[in-house]
């Protein structure tokens, strides 16, 4: 394991500290917690809280800022934060108009946020929760825990954030978030695994000519192991899967996100984007906006995910609404 860290057991605390110090104009670290919160909340707004395990940077703290999240709760690496921490975040951002929790669909995240919500309600705070489940690599059925939440979560942050900033009610913000969740799908792949610092060993092994298709953002193996093919073939495979799952067809309009998993050079992400763009144009799907970069990572995993958000007039307006979050400016 090669990492630029101090004690592997303290990476999360060390990071939260260095992160808050990098953005003292915009952020504070809520005392005694690992919650990163806007320094000044927009008055009378519905509160927006997200979070999850660390190791996905810039998610979620990078999305804390005017026009997006009000607070992000940072858990240990790949480990959902605990209810008491989430509760502190909720209390820090509630202004009496209620708080929406944006949660990625993992058992740990769902349980901890749920419990925090219950605690907050017992203190008289109105709390609603939405669960993001954009990863189509996982089959959604009554017999499973459903699809995972991955990079599409960032679009949900943006949509809900804009809606809240515009003064919408908790119900309206929740509805906007749910609409985004309905219309966003992602799929990822990896060339290399990643190493949880305190585990010290990579999460799986791949040969020089192998890749994993359908990986999540926690160093899990994917759904299929294959020989590496060309950027074009991989981009086309993932995009086609998404198009099918979202039932997109000619005339539909989408926002595109090509997300690096942590160690992928931007050069490769842009090459992938060229092929995604080409395929969408071929299928006569309009590209409203394209985002290429690192939005939801998995430590130093090499690989990428593609996300498509089907947009309509409302979502386009919310996507374009100003955001001051350092990891997603609009």
């Amino acid at each position: 394991m090669k990492k630029i860290i101090n004690n592997p057991s303290n990476v999360m605390e060390d990071m939260v500290k260095g992160m808050t110090l990098a953005n003292e104009e915009q952020w504070i670290q809520v005392e005694g917690t690992n919650v990163i919160c806007r320094k000044e909340l927009s008055a009378n707004k519905v509160g927006l809280v997200s979070g999850g395990g660390s190791g996905h940077e810039p998610a979620h703290a990078g999305y804390v800022g005017k026009g997006m999240l009000d607070a992000a709760v940072v858990g240990e690496v790949f480990t959902s934060p605990t209810p008491d921490q989430i509760l502190e975040a909720i209390k820090s951002v509630d202004q009496g108009n209620g708080v929406l929790l944006i949660v990625k669909n993992y058992t740990g995240d769902v349980l901890n946020f749920e419990m925090a919500g219950e605690l907050a309600e017992s203190e008289g705070i109105r709390v609603e929760q939405v669960i993001v489940n954009d990863d189509i690599a996982v089959k959604d059925s009554d017999f499973t825990i459903g699809r995972r939440g991955i990079a599409g979560t960032v679009f949900v942050h943006k949509i809900a954030g804009a809606k809240a900033e515009q003064g919408a009610s908790l119900e309206e913000v929740k509805a906007a978030a749910e609409k985004a969740i309905e219309q966003v799908r992602s799929m990822g792949m990896a060339l290399t695994p990643c190493t949880v610092p305190d585990a010290g060993k990579p999460s799986f092994h791949l040969a020089e000519d192998e890749m994993e298709i359908g990986i999540g953002i926690h160093g899990e193996v994917g759904t299929e192991r294959k020989k590496i093919t060309s950027a074009k073939d991989i981009a086309v495979e993932l995009t086609n899967n998404i198009l099918e799952d979202l039932s997109l067809s000619a005339g539909d309009e989408v926002a595109v996100m090509v997300n690096g998993m942590g160690a992928t050079p931007e050069m490769e992400l842009y090459i992938v984007n060229g092929h995604v763009n080409e395929l969408l144009k071929e299928k006569q799907i309009d590209i409203h906006q394209t985002y290429v970069g690192e939005f939801m990572t998995s430590l130093e995993m090499a690989g990428f995910s593609i996300t498509l958000l089907k947009v309509d007039a409302e979502l386009k307006q919310l996507l374009a609404y100003p955001s001051e979050a350092i990891a997603f400016r609009a």
């Binding site: 395990g53 790949f78 017999f143 825990i145 926690h218």
Partner: protein, 202 residues
């Protein structure tokens, strides 16, 4: 029979096992999860022991409540709320008991096992810690007296039974059929909890 002191012993032994097996639990979680279960357990039970050392307790229920609250606020992930709930239910079931006998413990462990299933929306056969807690409770209820040796054996077999299961809950479920052939990490940490309990029970 369980007393405040024995609960403290139980937690100490559990913690020792979690520290010793931190790498092993993490390896199990690397195979079918996200490589953090050993880290989570080692952090959680270390904090439990720290907490218990700093306080004085009059009854079993209170000490178990502190165990629950510490796990809840220090573990995170799926196992944190689940173990937190288990110990909270156990604590609640033993409220007011000065001496905890076999029957009390049966009722308490049953409440705990139900708590896990309720929180996790899970049942047996899904390749989770439930597959240890439920068989242990069933067996315990069927015993006439405290049988420490038997407890360890039953828990161990239950843990091993998860190897051949296909996961339908927790992260391992993403792997579907590929989850078969690996022991569930949470079942293993649950086995350590019961093994340690067996060692302190008199």
């Amino acid at each position: 029979m369980l007393t405040v002191q024995l609960v403290q012993e139980w937690m100490k032994k559990t913690n020792e096992r979690m520290q010793e097996n931190k790498a092993y639990l993490t390896e199990l979680d690397q195979a079918i999860g996200d490589s953090d279960h050993g880290i989570n357990m080692s952090r959680g039970f270390r904090e439990v022991v720290n907490k218990l050392e700093q306080s004085a307790y009059d009854d079993v229920s209170t000490v178990l409540k502190d165990v629950a609250m510490t796990l809840m606020s220090k573990v995170g992930g799926a196992s944190g709320p689940l173990y937190g709930t288990a110990f909270l239910k156990l604590s609640t079931a033993l409220k007011g008991k000065d001496i905890v006998n076999k029957e009390d413990l049966a009722a308490g462990l049953e409440a705990a096992a139900n708590g896990i299933q309720h929180r996790g929306k899970s049942t047996t056969g899904e390749k989770t810690m439930v597959d240890v807690w439920v068989p242990v409770v069933l067996w315990w209820k069927g015993q006439d007296e405290i049988n420490a040796e038997g407890l360890e054996k039953v828990a161990k077999e239950a843990m091993e039974s998860t190897k051949s299961m296909e996961a339908t809950k927790g992260r391992a479920s993403y792997l579907q059929a590929k989850s078969v052939g690996h022991i569930d990490p949470g079942s293993t940490s649950s086995y350590y909890i019961f093994k340690s309990l067996a060692e302190v029970l008199v």
